[in-house]
Amino acid sequence: AGDGGSSGSTDSAGGGSAALIIAQGGLGDESYNDLAYKGFQQGLADNGMQGSPIESDDVVGQGEQVLRRAGDEGVGVVIDLEYSHAEILPKVAADYPDTDWVLVNAEAKGDNVASVLFQEQEGSYLAGALAAMQTVNTSDPKINADKVIGFIGGAQSAGIDKFAVGYIQGAHDVDPDVKVLTAYSNDFGDPTKGQQLAQSMYEQGADIVYAVAGGTGTGVIQAAKDANRYAIGVDTDQDGLAQGNVLTSMLKHTDVAMETVLKDFADGSFPGGQTLQLGLKEDGVGLTDFQYTKDAIGQATIDKIADLKQQIIDGKIQVWNVVDQGYPDFYSGN
């Protein structure tokens, strides 16, 4: 962003025009929006398309008019990252049949509408399982004997607890005695809060803390480094932020999804009416390859994780999805 050059979408040159509606939190959230935008840009470049991200300070209330404006202007494909548009997007899409619409993170109906759903709980399950195995691996100097791990969310909401519950389920499946501390920063951009929350968890015996809190998470990683314990990163590969202190990162390939959708659109094979499920199977989510922590974790554990992954892909393990199923009994976050 930043070069204020005009990129009018009406004069759809090359592969057509696109627009990316940025969700709450805005660009700069260091996770969801940023990653989608990265993929969006890549997709535009790959397919010779034009387009721009659209941010609004009031994306919830202004959603409909922005979508309609895009429809009016004949934008080729509109990708909407804001979950709260689940009601309005199908309505608008029906009024603008010539435009293709993509809703991310929620499902919407319509012939010219594609939905993209991530199965973050599946990747989080693996993170939880890994943490549960590692927290008793006392040969690792960063690990204590207590069976305690932690989870820090940016806000207490279904979308975040989807991660939390998968994480807890994974941990408990490995060892029901592992205690999972949960806390929320109520802010996605407050590293100091993240650092304090993590520090408090480390003091209570946790040695691995999974942070799903955007920019707040950088504070968690910092705390891991300072206390010489572990953090688990999220969305992008954050393993390098504090080499050796980020056990792994739970990747969520929003960027890949964007690229895929744009490519399909450019190829004329827009998946209208379909829902793309991006889970472990589709490589939409997953753990990193432990570049800095391989040795500390040990091959046995790594193999066990691979096995669990396969079981999920094969449907032998069902991971709880808070968004669809509500809260399970084993989650006691509130």
Binding site: D3, D29, E30, L181, D187, Q196, G215, G333, N334
Partner: protein
């Protein structure tokens, strides 16, 4: 547990104390500074940037403070010379500052929300030999960074400056009665600008404590409303240094407490996180009611 909470409370209070003392100084000069949030984020940003470029926390800190002084000065000029309503100017200044920093991050630094400059040096932590192992006290005073000690020092120094220097006297006079001070030949606008510059600089120091203190990076939202909490603190402390700092500490304590309660589990994070705010209302109500009961004159 208690020493962990206290240590955490102190850490969380440091940025607040600087910003609130800045606000208190400006308030003593007669201006309510709504722009503390803007000065804090400026300090955090420039501090991180310069510490990264030079690899020196000292340079970073000084640069952050200077930057805050500049934004504080600009904001003050808008209020004193162009007679802008302080509330609106402050609100507008916050919006503009966050806009400019966000814009710079994207256009100049090519990053979105977070900037982690290579080679950034964090504030050193000063371990006091001997004390470090003393229970409670060790947790409270050992391993703190220089800004922590500066914050502690700032309170008595400010009390002294208010009472014993020309600057302090004239500042208080201007705030207490601008027309009277002006008629005595004080350059009240200049005095207010000076206070605005110091308020900006101190708030920026609070920002530096955020970006170079606990974490060592910059995030465009890292002030997270602390400027407004600081505002509440100096209102609460009636702009007197010690009560203002204590208000920050109270807030920091309940913030640290809510973190511990949360991580211990069993309560709604949403509810628990309101604890510091509820505490402020309760304390304010109790002191207010007691004060009211003591006065016999019932006129505003």
């Amino acid at each position: 547990m208690i020493d962990a909470i206290l240590a955490s409370a102190l850490t969380l209070s440091v940025p607040l104390v600087f910003a609130a003392l800045g606000g208190a100084i400006h308030r003593q000069a007669g201006v309510v500074n709504i722009g503390l949030e803007a000065h804090m984020i400026t300090g955090a940003f420039i501090g991180a940037l310069l510490s990264g470029w030079t690899g020196s926390w000292i340079v970073g800190t000084i640069a952050g403070v200077v930057a805050g002084a500049i934004t504080g000065g600009i904001m003050s000029l808008l209020i004193t010379r162009l007679h802008g309503n302080e509330i609106i100017v402050g609100l507008g200044f916050n919006i503009v500052t966050f806009g400019v920093i966000g814009y710079l991050l994207r256009s100049v630094f090519g990053v979105s929300g977070t900037l982690q400059p290579e080679g950034l040096e964090r504030l050193p932590s000063l371990v006091i030999p001997g004390v470090a192992d003393v229970p409670v006290l060790g947790a409270i005073v050992s391993g703190k960074d220089p800004l922590f000690w500066l914050a502690i020092l700032a309170v008595p120094v400010l009390v002294w400056l208010f009472a014993h220097t020309r600057w302090g006297l004239r500042l208080r006079a201007t705030g207490a009665s601008e027309p009277a001070s002006a008629s005595l030949g004080l350059r009240t606008a200049g005095i207010r600008d000076g206070a605005g510059i110091i308020a900006g600089a101190l708030a920026a120091l609070g920002g530096v404590a955020l970006s170079l203190g606990t974490v060592g990076l910059f995030n465009e939202n890292m002030t997270a409303g602390r400027g407004y909490v600081a505002l509440a603190a100096f209102y609460f402390g009636r702009s007197r240094p010690l009560p203002t700092a204590l208000a920050c500490l109270l807030f920091g304590f309940f913030d640290a407490l809510q973190i511990r309660i949360q991580t211990s589990g069993g309560f709604s994070a949403d509810i628990v996180s309101t604890l510091p705010y509820v505490a402020v209302v309760v304390v304010l109500a109790i002191t207010g009611i007691r004060q009211y009961a003591r006065s016999s004159r019932k006129i505003a």
